[in-house]
Amino acid sequence: MSDVLYLKRKKQTRHAFLFIGLLILLFSMVTDRGGEWRQVWEKLPLLLTGSMHGWPLNGGFILNIFIGIASMAIATVLGLFLGLMMLAKRRWLSIPARAVMNFLRNAPWLVLLFSMLYLLPYRVEWLGFQFTLSPLFKAIVGLSLPTAANFAEVIRGAVNSVHSGQWESARSLGYSQWQIYRIVILPQALRRIIPGWMNLYALLAISTALATVTGVQEVVTLLRTTLATESEGSLVYFYVTVLLMFFCYCYPIALLARRLENQTKGDAI
């Protein structure tokens, strides 16, 4: 049996599975014997947007997506700095950067998130202005730290995978260190950085569920408060709904990242 045929059959089977799964889900929704889906349906706007009628947006899964995007923005900037510091030739730059990276990568996300809650002050004075740091802001910072460390590692791996001949030829053409990075190395490393970056984003989007410990009104918090008032039988239905929310958001991103990664595999740069 050839590989191509087998892969094709696997794909068909996967689609069949998906179809059957959707059918079962639809069937249980249409029959809805215990009325559990109706309960979920009534609470769905709340879980998605944090308000009963879907507007205004004050939390729910929308907030998870927002936390994810904001954290990713911070983590990208921090990770880029940290990654370039790790690659620096100067020891006094690279050694501390590596230590910070290892520390942040080996610490559990949840513990880092908690630490940020207590490390960051409640009130900050900057340029004469008073800022209050909300739990939401602290959650975003807390989630961005481990992501930044992981991103730094992605950058380091990608830059190291660029063929060393590129360095030598660029140097022989008289480019400066910074120019080599900017014009020669980073554009080539980008092919590897982008899939890694997307994978990280998928991981971060999943981890936004942890923000529940900061008391932010995101989907897990709302789910837990909702379940306190709902009947016990509907519990599983609610959980399945929220799990599916995360799955539907993260799986396509992870899939796309894998496709891009497979494209860069084996290309000798």
């Binding site: 996967r14 559990p108 799955f247």
Partner: protein, 236 residues
């Protein structure tokens, strides 16, 4: 020292709590890692059958567990497993308590989560076993199980130790989320201590350091295994 006050560390009560937390974390991590590796191997073995429906279901399992928050998985298992209704009589109080404890649900949940990650890691390792070696073994008359046990596992396990390190450290870090479902591990102990002393910052810093040390130990341990098992020419 930087205006931090660690005097509470001298209190034997807190030392006791911390120690118990560390032990519980290690127990949870060890159990779930062991089960995860078993699940990973089972999944990898099932993939050698090359049955489309089996592969598709394994893939579904992996993707479901990889693309949903472990925290939610844990809450889900905690509430469903303790609700199933198996209850025993507590010999001390005579009350009906759920047979499946929070610790057990956390173990089940983490094992499945880790198992999904392990299957993925092992699959990459098994794919990297040279085809010629497999054909040679088949021509020598190895059965499917014999081939798996004597050829594929020895070679693939060495190739996939680096990704397995990632998986197991990830799993170790995820155990901290069991504190949300009241498993008295390290993170939970931390919460208990700062509720008592109000020294949140110091406690969190200490816990961070403990976790980093423990995870580094795990990394070192797997590295040691890797060096001990190294075949020249297979794996890094």
């Amino acid at each position: 020292m930087f205006g931090l006050d660690f005097s509470w560390l001298l209190d034997p009560t807190y030392q006791q709590w911390l120690l118990q937390g560390v032990l519980q974390t290690l127990e949870l991590a060890a159990l779930s890692s062991a089960f995860a590796i078993v699940i990973g191997l089972l999944g990898a073995f099932c993939l050698t059958f090359r049955l489309a429906w089996l592969d598709a279901s394994i893939e579904l399992f992996v993707e479901l567990f990889r693309n949903t928050p472990p925290l939610l998985q844990m809450l889900f298992f905690y509430f469903t497993l303790t609700q199933i209704g198996f209850t025993t009589e507590d010999p001390v109080t005579g009350l009906q308590v759920p047979l499946i404890s929070a610790f057990m649900s956390a173990t089940v949940s983490l094992s499945l989560f880790g198992g999904a990650l392990c299957i993925e890691a092992f699959r990459s390792g098994f794919d990297a076993v040279p085809k010629a070696t497999l054909e040679a073994a088949r021509s020598l008359g190895y059965t499917r199980w014999g081939l798996f046990r004597h050829v594929q596992v020895p070679i693939a396990s060495r190739i996939c130790l680096p990704p397995l390190t990632n998986v197991l450290t990830n799993l170790f870090k995820t155990t901290s989320q069991a504190s949300v479902i009241t498993v008295p591990e390290l993170m939970y102990a931390a919460g208990q201590i700062y509720n008592d002393t109000f020294r949140t910052l110091e406690v969190m810093l200490l816990i961070l350091v403990i976790y980093v040390v423990l995870v580094s130990l795990v990394v070192w341990l797997i590295g040691w295994v890797q060096r001990a098992l190294a075949y020249p020419g297979y794996g890094a």
